[in-house]
């Protein structure tokens, strides 16, 4: 009797665990669950905004901490005819357009960007997958450029439009369709002193796998926010009309827009 009830308890535990696990898959895809997930994301963002209200800097490391090899992820080469021509020409005709809700839209060459006040920082890059690498980045603080462009007081976001079409990475889970890479951040993060339009990594011009000629550095958020191959920065008050409408390539595929955790 007692042995029987022990066995029943054990089997009950095991089978109910299995049942719960298989139910999770169906629950994951339900609209209601996805709504709850978005609520949790908003709650996390509110809490982090509160803690980061003073605008603290991300930890900066020593030159000896720099990763000997820094893993390049996502697109390793945009590979389009247009991009390859830019590579051949040393990106002399590459322009970074700043437009949208700004008083003075502009198109900056690399030479013009290099003349602006620069910032160099050694920071840790945290990938959503779990790994971290430390690199040194040099570039123009995005806030300086936005200030020069004159951002409308109604604007809320900076959107980064990139040259790469990421060919979906099914091994990263789900059915990621190919799509033009883009990202967006809130203006409060765009004006953070460590948010850079970076043109150099570890003292050298950005390499193709790391986003040549220009990439964004958004310290304090996960790596996918730091868009590579940036061609255009659009200032806007809504993300709804852009691509999938969730503010980024990975966001359109289910990842959090606020990537502070």
């Amino acid at each position: 009797m007692k042995a029987l009830s022990r066995r029943a308890a054990l089997m009950g535990t095991i089978s109910s665990t299995g049942l719960l696990l298989s139910g999770c898959d169906r629950l994951t895809q339900s609209q209601n669950m996805q709504r709850i997930f978005r609520g949790v994301e908003a709650w996390t963002r509110m809490n982090q905004r509160l803690l980061l209200a003073g605008g603290p800097l991300a930890r900066e490391f020593k030159p000896s901490d720099i990763s000997k090899e820094f893993k390049a992820n996502g697109t390793l080469n945009p590979g389009s005819d247009d991009y390859l021509r830019h590579v051949e020409e040393g990106f002399v005709r590459w322009r970074l357009t700043i437009d949208g809700m700004v008083a003075n839209p502009m198109a900056l060459s690399l030479a013009e960007l290099r003349k602006l006040p620069a910032r160099t920082q050694i920071t840790r890059h945290d990938c959503v997958e779990g790994w971290s690498a430390i690199g040194q980045w040099t570039g123009v603080p995005l806030g300086l450029v936005l200030q020069a462009a004159g951002v409308s007081p109604r604007a809320k976001y900076a959107v980064f439009h990139c040259a790469d079409n990421l060919e979906g990475e099914p091994d990263k889970g789900g059915s990621q369709s190919p799509g033009q890479y883009y990202e967006s951040i809130a203006l409060i993060d765009a004006f953070h002193p460590q948010t850079l339009i970076a043109y150099a990594m570890n003292g050298k011009a950005l390499s193709v796998p790391h986003g040549a000629p220009l990439r964004i550095r958004v310290e304090r958020q996960l790596g996918y926010k730091s868009a590579k191959y940036v061609q255009r920065i659009e200032v806007t008050d809504s993300l709804a009309g852009i691509s999938g409408g969730r503010g980024g390539y990975w966001e359109d595929r289910g990842y959090e827009w606020y990537a502070g955790i």
Partner: protein, 278 residues
């Protein structure tokens, strides 16, 4: 005389006590549910980069402490789990296992992860939902437990408890469980195990927060405390493993001690005190 005592023993009414108060029962089950989802989704997140490192940084160019990978060999693909320089063939479970009948490169197998398919985005959503639930539940338990002196009275070991450590270990190894008055309070091993699991949950939360790049800017000392972000990730994994070990022992002890009585006491609060065996 002996016969009378025996009869009295047999006819003694069952002693039923109110063992677990509502707050304990509620937080216990919320905790169990949260841990279930956190472990399943955590293993799915782990699979996105099935290597652990020590220090601030670590990617595929750095030497991992632990790696669960698919490796191509002459005899086909194998699942290989490496701890330092030791390598174990774990084909079928770790590194290389079947997902819906198809062999797949996968850290942890499909039947252990939430969701069962590889889906980092949704695994993270589940993880953060239940991380918040765990944090609120733990805070509620600690606040209640300290003000009602549950922690001080029922969990924190007394000097006498500590002296009973070795006898208690021996009794547990013989699968003997306390009876009578001794069964009305937590024994020393229970106290240490519950304190330990509370500490582990604390370490889970701290190491989890240390992996947040946002929080690291707010409190750079947090990852430093644990040896860096990748160390925090490693500690997060190992403290989760210890919690799993606790759960196995805990459920095993419940089954040995009388699963119906134990389960009922954690559901309704009422516990039948086990009588001495004659």
């Amino acid at each position: 005389m002996n016969v009378n005592a025996d009869t009295a023993q047999r006819q003694a009414p069952r002693e039923v006590i109110y063992r677990h108060r509502l707050a304990v029962r509620l937080t216990h089950w919320i905790n169990a549910l949260a841990l279930f989802f956190l472990l399943g989704s955590g293993l799915n997140i782990f699979n996105a980069h099935p290597q652990l490192y020590w220090g601030a940084k670590g990617d595929e160019y750095d030497k991992p402490l632990l790696a669960i990978q698919a490796v191509d060999t002459d005899g086909g693909t194998k699942g290989v789990t490496s701890i330092g320089s030791w390598h174990f063939n774990t084909t079928g479970v770790l590194g290389w296992s079947k997902v819906e009948g198809v062999d797949t490169a996968r850290g942890w197998p499909s039947w252990l992860t939430i969701p069962s398919f590889h889906d980092l985005a949704d695994a993270r959503h589940w993880h953060f939902l239940f991380a918040w639930i765990l944090a609120f539940n733990s805070a509620a338990y600690l606040a209640w437990g300290l003000t009602k002196r549950h922690l001080q009275r029922d969990i924190w070991p007394t000097r006498a408890d500590l002296r009973s450590f070795i006898p208690s270990v021996v009794a547990h190894l013989k699968l003997q469980h306390p009876t009578g008055d001794a069964a009305k309070r937590y024994n020393i091993l229970q106290r240490l195990a519950y304190l330990g699991v509370l500490a582990l949950i604390g370490l889970m939360i701290v190491s989890g927060l240390s992996m947040s790049p946002g929080l690291d800017a707010f409190a750079p000392w947090l990852p430093d405390l644990l040896g860096g972000r990748q160390s925090a990730r490693t500690l997060h994994f190992f403290s989760a493993s210890l919690i799993v070990l606790f759960v196995f022992v805990h459920v095993g002890e419940v089954i040995l001690a009388g699963p119906l009585n134990e389960l009922r006491s954690m559901l309704t609060g009422w516990f039948t005190v086990p009588q001495e065996h004659k």
